[in-house]
Symmetry: C2
Subunit: 232 residues, 2 copies
């Protein structure tokens, strides 16, 4: 499906680009819908495109040698993935899967790379994004260091709350990941995630609101549990 320059400018990475550049990129972009559970980016393949998420949620997943799934990161709308292809020709290290029905824009790698090289402001933006990715991975890895598993779950939920809401007393997570998806992020079993959620729900700290919405009733308590100041 065709993509307009306007659509491209909805992404934070591309927004600062001049209109003219966006018009040059648009013909190399295509809009694709992915059903839940579909593979969006393949591991081990030299991808020739970068994937921008318009709506839905994606998850980067790796695989251990014995076939177990490992959750690496979540991608929220407006963000992108597969950006390693912009820097070298090595294959993608991980799969990216749609954890909710997703609309993505694939943008051919080479034109974007050109834009990146010719405009230092663009390569700055891409570089900053990659740096941010490293910080995000570091933060996620640090979560795994917590010995108390309930802490990990609370910490993960906290990371899933959109930045703007983190100040308030309550928040929400739209299209929350399944317990299984959280489990592989935190290196724990699905059942253990369920039990952690049970504890949080019985204490009125979180509440499910239909299939696609998780309400964080008491954000302060969630923070305290994540910090280990209080135990579940």
């Amino acid at each position: 499906m065709q993509v307009t320059p306007e659509l491209l400018s909805r992404f934070t990475l591309l927004k600062p680009l001049p209109r003219q550049v966006l018009e040059g990129l648009a013909p190399h972009a295509s809009l694709v819908r992915h059903a839940r559970r579909e593979v969006v980016v393949r591991a081990g393949v030299r991808e020739d495109r970068v994937c921008f998420l318009f709506e839905g949620r994606l998850q980067g997943v790796g695989h251990t040698i014995d076939g177990r799934e490992v959750g690496l990161y979540f991608i929220e709308p407006g963000d992108f993935c597969g950006e390693l292809a912009l820097f070298d020709d090595n294959p993608q290290p991980e799969f990216v899967i749609a954890t909710a029905a997703a609309t993505v824009v694939f943008l051919a790698r080479n034109p974007l790379r050109e834009v990146m090289l010719n405009s230092s402001s663009v390569s700055n933006i891409v570089g900053r994004k990659l740096a941010e990715r490293v910080r995000q991975m570091t933060e996620q890895r640090t979560l795994l260091g917590l010995s108390n598993i309930d802490q990990r779950v609370c910490g993960q939920l906290y990371l899933l709350i959109k930045g703007g809401q983190r100040q308030g007393e309550s928040g929400e997570i739209v299209n929350p990941p399944t317990h299984q998806e959280i489990a592989i992020m935190l290196n724990i079993s699905r059942e253990r995630v369920t039990r952690a959620f049970q504890a949080l729900q019985s204490r009125r700290i979180v509440r499910r609101d239909g299939p696609g919405r998780l309400v964080i009733i008491d954000l302060n308590s969630l923070r305290r549990f994540a910090r280990g100041e209080e135990e579940l």
Copy 2:
């Protein structure tokens, strides 16, 4: 201590730079020796320099909220760290500590950034390195997905063997990390690492050779254990 352009050119990142550029950078570089256990780069601080490792070994470590140490990556001679400062002004997310007496070259951030922006070939190199870092972190994270802990240890040892030796039937690790340092990389206890090593040593798969050298006697077996094809 003063640094010569020749010294700078010993680092893979800087090697491709023209002599003239290296001469411009040298005045902004300084050579520092760090004793074992010393902090080389601080977390939470806006570092204004990038750290190149000349000899020794460094380890990036994070801290959980409850103070537990988390091992993130090892830095080998010729490699560098603190490169996020080149991309944005946000603080360093992790500490970097010398796990063996180390000689490092600090290179001021801004001059290097200038070089990077003016030469697309240099920004390519830096970008490739950052992409490589992401791959490395992904690989390390995937190790943690292994349910069998002995597998993790074997996998970690395998990663510690320098690339060139991985083909052969045997190998070595110079200045191997302590059990504690491995433990925090793999999210397990120091004692558990010791027990894994006991098992490997009693099966004549690895052997300590003095304080600073670990010999991998049977690399094929190590690989099999890492893959879970055989159990310790």
